[in-house]
Symmetry: C2
Subunit: 194 residues, 2 copies
């Protein structure tokens, strides 16, 4: 039996969805309350500091959930190149089936807020670092030199976020599938050189 979500959880889920769809500035508190089906008072009760606080919390929770998914997908893999390929093609398929909304990206809020909110910039930075670390650790475990693993993990993180922009703009998952293929080959090549 599924547990009923609390008003706080519903507000966070609605924020996550709306911010990923339309960005930080376009998302208003009234829209979040409506989408979350939560009483207005609950927003001010749980998030007395308003939108910045609510978005920071929603980005952190959403980012942590994605980190866990990445870690789980990479755990016990025997083939790093295939594991990365599987993750990116999964993102492509999820994205395609949600009308190019749900890729787990935080790029929109990161871009819009880096110059106006230290709090949001830091939350986004920590999440990107956690995603990169998950890829990096897996590559190091499979014998890659630390510097090389850091660079490839950065390329994976950056190119997925960038491919989200291209896929959304083209309304096609093709860019995500292209980068999946190239990153797979890059990791295979890098491992041959170890």
């Amino acid at each position: 039996m599924e547990r009923t979500m609390s008003a706080r959880e519903r507000l966070i889920q609605a924020t996550s969805h709306l911010v990923e769809l339309q960005g930080y500035h376009a998302t208003g508190l009234n829209q979040i309350i409506k989408e979350g089906g939560a009483p207005k008072g609950s927003l001010y009760y749980y998030f007395p500091n308003g939108k910045e606080e609510l978005v920071a919390e929603s980005v952190a929770i959403h980012g942590q959930a994605v980190t866990e998914q990445i870690r789980k997908a990479l755990a016990n893999t025997t083939d790093p190149a295939e594991a990365i390929y599987a993750i990116i093609t999964y993102v492509a398929s999820k994205f395609e089936h949600s009308d190019f909304i749900k890729a787990g990206s935080i790029a929109s809020v990161a871009l819009e807020t880096a110059h106006i909110s230290e709090r949001l910039r830091k939350v986004c930075g920590e999440i990107y670092m956690a995603w990169r670390s998950a890829y990096e650790s897996m590559l190091i475990e499979h014998g890659m030199m630390s510097d090389k693993a850091t660079r490839i993990a950065t390329l994976i993180t950056a190119s997925i976020e960038g491919a989200v922009v291209l896929c959304r703009t083209y309304r096609s998952s093709e860019p995500m599938l292209f980068i999946a293929e190239e990153l797979k080959q890059l990791i295979e090549q890098a491992r041959k050189q170890v």
Copy 2:
């Protein structure tokens, strides 16, 4: 002697700057008028359809200028891997010296508007396609198979846009430099396999 910019050009330049810095929704028409130092009437005279029209024109002009820069940097190169490396490290340096604002990215407006404006989605899509084509043509000219060139050109375009997000979030050009290095090696490897 530098030609004085017209009110129309000043409005477009101000829009380009503000949209790259803070995104589409956060940028208001009054702010554009103020930043551009243009009379209010000129905005409605040149762009009677308002913000969407002005941003579409500004993104198109800015995107075309970046396409020209890419083409120029790639023309007559003898080493495709080095040429791509030089472009990306140039972006990193320009970005760093502008307090992580000016990378020539259109990611913010692309992400914020893909679901609300067909006009802006299409303009952004055309620009990304032009950038990709510039990389792709150069790789094909240097003997790469067309499919492979398309995938690598997509990876270059996506990873630069994604690295803009990471650099802005970390306030560091390190992610851009990391992807420059990895893409250089990837192109060198791919050319050996031709």
